[in-house]
């Protein structure tokens, strides 16, 4: 009983004292740790106090005097200030927790760790955290920071006429999103681009996956001679940089001078096809090119999986009198999909944002009457157009956000489905 009454005192006092970082640790007689906390807090405060304050002011106002205040720089300062505050608060919270925790140990009569013990504690339990922290710290500024920047940009009116240094950028709430869905020009273009983006994603990806799996199974036949040669040939499209392949295809598909209209089509008795100037044909060409670029990866992966499927399964199926198709649909395909599903999903998300092939093949063209995006522009290449030709940075950021939400939702949903799929007992 005595102990428990005294116990309340230690942990509470230590924690309250630690409101000034380090003092609680002194109270717990952990002088070194207390010093570290105190010095950390004092230096953090004295170095960053002004900066953080200025950052918050900038983040809220985005500047008040044009030419003197640069809204975008202020926005960046503001985000860094928020990140710094969060880090500071994290350390502060840890300081409070530590004082409370050690106070509690004292209350329970366990005694506090000596410096040596603390060191061993850190090395034993904290080692992984210690090791990932530099990488994580870098990640905050290289990945998280730009994401927050785009996120915030979507709620500003940043465009040519609100460009610093001559003018200030202002917060406009959800105006950009409202405009995209209510103004006629934006809405019609957005939905037509979105439709093609979805058709493109599913068409191109499904075709490249199907082709890859089909060829892998074909070449994996037991009786086939020269497997190595065939496999090498099938991997070749992957070995050429896609950048170069696309440019070459773009020349081959040229309406008048391309080898396809000049040599290949006449050879099989067909007329020239307007590949580059009719949007339907450009779309077909794009889907074919992407299949060409994408199938070797699926092919290589599937080949690996096929070789690991135990032969006994097929022997057993033969004994049961299964047909070729039954063997394929009941053994091969499920096992291949089981192993590759997560990678197939990344193929879909990759094509959803496949800027290279769209941009390099025909620049998002051909032009369509009454639309400000080209006939084959997908969302990401349209965003590029918006920022490069119209300087609509705020709107482009808003569309980027919508696009990310779509990709993230689909990816999450599919990954969760695959997980449940994987948990089924396959073998």
């Amino acid at each position: 009983m005595k102990e428990s009454t005294s116990s309340t005192k230690h942990r509470k006092t230590a924690m309250l004292l630690s409101l000034i970082p380090g003092v609680g640790q002194f109270y717990n007689k952990q002088i070194l740790k207390g010093l570290v906390f105190l010095i950390l807090a004092v230096s953090f405060g004295s170095v960053f106090f002004q900066y953080i304050g200025f950052g918050y002011w900038g983040l809220i106002t985005l500047g008040e005097i044009p030419k003197l205040d640069h809204s975008i720089f202020l926005l960046i300062d503001g985000i860094i200030a928020v990140l710094l505050t969060l880090m500071g608060l994290g350390i502060y919270a840890f300081n409070l927790y530590d004082a409370y925790h050690n106070g509690k140990r004292r209350d329970l009569g366990e005694g506090v760790n000596s410096v040596r013990q603390q060191y061993h504690n850190l090395i034993d339990n904290g080692f992984p955290y210690l090791m990932i922290s530099p990488g994580f710290f870098l990640l905050i500024f290289v990945v998280i920071f730009p994401i927050i920047f785009v996120l915030l940009l979507a709620f500003t009116n940043y465009d040519l006429y609100h460009s610093p240094p001559a003018n200030l950028v202002d917060w406009v709430g959800i105006q950009n999103f409202k405009d995209i869905f209510t103004l006629d020009v934006w809405r019609s273009t957005f939905f037509s681009v979105l439709t093609w983006t979805i058709v493109w994603t599913f068409g191109a990806t499904t075709l490249q996956v199907a082709l890859g799996i089909f060829l892998a199974i074909l070449i994996n036949q037991k009786d086939l001679k020269g497997k190595v040669l065939f496999r090498t040939i099938m991997i070749l499209p992957w070995a050429v940089p896609s950048f170069i392949t696309i440019l070459i295809f773009s020349g081959m598909f040229n309406d008048t001078f391309g080898v396809i209209n000049r040599v290949i089509l006449p050879m099989i008795g067909m007329d020239a096809i307007p590949w580059m100037t009719n949007e339907t044909f450009t779309r077909i060409a794009l889907i074919m090119i992407q299949s060409w670029l994408g199938f070797p990866f699926i092919f290589a992966m599937t080949t690996g999986i096929l070789q690991s499927i135990p032969e006994e399964l097929y022997e057993a199926a033969d004994v049961d009198g299964a047909s070729v198709f039954q063997k394929f649909f009941s053994i091969t395909l499920p096992l291949v999909l089981y192993a590759t599903a997560p990678i197939l999903i990344t193929q879909y998300t990759f094509n959803f944002n496949n800027f290279n092939v769209i941009f390099l093949f025909n620049g998002g063209g051909p032009a369509l009457p009454s639309q400000n995006a080209g006939g084959t522009d997908i969302l990401i290449s349209w965003i590029y157009r918006l920022t490069m030709t119209s300087a609509q940075y705020g709107k482009a950021a808003a569309i980027t956000m919508i696009l990310s939400i779509i990709v993230i939702t689909v990816a999450l949903w599919q990954f969760r489905r695959t997980k449940s799929f994987q948990e089924e007992d396959m073998m």
Partner: protein
């Protein structure tokens, strides 16, 4: 209880920071306002040095001499750096300017002036009338925006008629002659004349010559409400353009984003008798071993000369310089007749100085002479930011006209409608 205290403390802390840190800058804000006046030479100190950004590969052989003579006269050092003029200078200035590392003088293509002035990157300059009288009127007007002067012209360029001397004896005087020649000459892969008339930069020559215009002249510079790209003349011009494509004189293979490369390739293989292209193309053609002749564009069927677009490269004083007066003095020196002549001899860019037209170095140079001649009829590309909305829709319209997917009138009407909507939504 404890939690409430904590929350309260946190809120207080943050509120305190935000309230305390709005920077107090009353006095500072006044300073830049007064100092921008270039007239007050007396109040402006002589700088130790000025910094120039010149286009890439364009400083060798003249700039050092020009700098030396400026330093001898005024005792001001000048440093220079080379950066790609098309976009790098503008993009770099956006970042370096507010950060305090901006140069005093940059070179920019004149069609970016509206944009960079709106963003506040370059400033108005004032020069004596006798300085302005040195340059051709149209090149000075290209440096004006909203009635104010923002730079001095350094070089001009405009598309001209380039022919292969092996295939064509002399340049035709009229398009009718060229049409007859082309009808005769064109067969298989050989073409009498090629031009990228699905690209508005080149097509404007025809539309403009027939009476179309991009923006009408208003009281203060260009009138963004008055678009003349679907008037009678423009439609006539578009019909004329369509005729060249539909009769097979221009192949469909030079339409679209990749058309330029296809055209250059054909010309350099010696399959094309003549093309419409800018002075930047001369060197490549000579390198390919073609003996080229250059002349002004032939006159249109209505007897009018082609109204080609003129590009003017100019020297501009940045908003970030502390020495606007001396920077202006320096660009006056850089565009003086002697320096301009030395620059022409070094880099073959045709200066805008009137006095140099008669100069033997330019008058005896076939290419320079043709450009100078064509410049008399050329109009500067509009430099207002709204011009950014014209390229896309016009390219779409011209492409649909070239491929006969739509008739001239309706395609141009649609383009103008779209330009107007885009200007309304984006500007």
């Amino acid at each position: 209880m404890k939690k409430n205290w904590l929350v309260l403390l946190l809120v207080l802390f943050v509120a305190m920071i935000v309230a305390a840190c709005a920077p107090d800058r009353e006095e500072q804000a006044e300073a830049p306002e007064g100092s921008t006046n270039t007239e007050e030479a007396a109040t402006e100190e002589k700088p130790e040095k000025l910094v120039i950004w010149e286009d890439i590969d364009k400083s060798a052989g003249w700039l050092e001499d020009a700098i030396a003579s400026f330093e001898a006269e005024h005792g001001i050092q000048v440093e220079f750096k080379e950066l790609n003029m098309a976009d790098a200078i503008r993009d770099q200035l956006r970042l370096d300017g507010p950060a305090g590392n901006a140069p005093d003088i940059v070179t920019l293509p004149h069609d970016q002036i509206g944009q960079v002035v709106t963003e506040g990157l370059i400033q108005e300059i004032s020069v004596e009338d006798d300085v302005l009288a040195r340059y051709s009127e149209s090149s000075v007007s290209a440096q004006m925006y909203n009635g104010a002067l923002y730079g001095l012209p350094k070089a001009t360029e405009t598309p001209v008629f380039i022919y292969n001397k092996a295939l064509m004896d002399e340049a035709p005087a009229t398009m009718d002659e060229l049409y007859t020649f082309s009808k005769d000459f064109t067969s298989g892969d050989n073409y009498g004349f090629l031009a990228l008339w699905d690209n508005f930069y080149f097509a404007h020559a025809v539309l403009g010559g027939m009476g179309g215009y991009v923006f009408g002249e208003g009281a203060e510079g260009l009138d963004r409400e008055d678009i003349g790209l679907n008037n009678e003349g423009a439609v006539e011009g578009a019909d004329y353009i369509q005729q060249w494509y539909s009769e097979g004189l221009f192949p469909a293979g030079i339409v679209g984003e990749t058309g330029g490369a296809a055209m250059d390739g054909l010309f350099n293989e010696g399959k094309v008798a003549s093309v419409m292209n800018g002075p930047w193309a001369f060197q490549g053609m000579r390198d390919a071993g073609i003996d080229i002749g250059v002349a002004a564009m032939p006159t249109l069927p209505n007897g009018e000369p082609m109204k080609t677009f003129m590009g003017v490269k100019g020297w501009n004083v940045t908003s970030f310089t502390e020495y606007p007066y001396w920077s202006t003095k320096l660009i006056e020196h850089l565009t003086s007749d002697e320096v301009s002549l030395a620059r022409f001899e070094a880099v073959s860019e045709i200066p805008a100085n009137v006095a140099l037209v008669e100069e033997p170095a330019i008058a005896d140079n076939e290419g320079a002479k043709a450009v100078a001649l064509q410049s008399q009829y050329a109009v500067p590309m509009p430099n207002i930011p709204e011009m950014g909305e014209v390229w896309g829709p016009m390219a779409s319209a011209l492409q649909t006209i070239a491929t006969s997917k739509s008739d001239s009138k309706s395609a141009l009407d649609e383009a103008v409608d779209q330009i107007k909507t885009n200007i309304e939504t984006n500007h």
